[in-house]
Symmetry: C2
Subunit: 98 residues, 2 copies
């Protein structure tokens, strides 16, 4: 399992619109092959910030499958205009043994 991670900074005054748009966008990404789950959590220290965590079976399910699909165009249209700055997206592998 691969964990996609991004810190989302939302433009001033747009939080509730962003939250509605995200609720519309979740079913779009959820139907993508290899999608295993998503959560968006509000930051306690910075109220215009959210943590996005998306679980994918394989890296390519996100970087190729989703991003090259028409679903990604819908996701972009719904969400990308809320971000400032545009988020850096990274991927993380299986947890270290502990």
């Amino acid at each position: 399992m691969i964990l996609e991670q991004a810190i989302l900074n939302i433009k001033k005054g747009r939080k509730s619109e962003f939250e509605s748009a995200m609720a519309q966008a979740v079913p779009i990404i959820s139907s993508s092959p290899g999608f295993l789950g998503l959560e968006v959590r509000p930051c306690l220290e910075n109220t215009s910030r959210y943590l996005l965590l998306v679980k994918w079976e394989r890296l390519e399910d996100h970087t190729e499958g989703f991003r090259n699909s028409p679903r990604y165009q819908e996701w972009r249209t719904l969400l990308h205009h809320f971000y400032e700055p545009f988020p850096v997206v990274e991927h993380y592998g299986d947890p270290l043994p502990s």
Copy 2:
């Protein structure tokens, strides 16, 4: 549940030492009241980077309980010298409904 999040950037050439130290440090934080779970995942895009996610019952279990305990001194001694720059730690609340 509160999710603590930090991006850990490890000094050049110190990765395997860091991973051993983290394996020693996990039981220390795990015995802290309110601790619910921890994962450390390696970044796929940047091999000296890790994502730390720690689940706590309440924010204060981390910011007061753990950080004011002798356990935190052990955690610091084991881990803090590996980081460059020193990580920004943030806390995130319950996920948005979807």
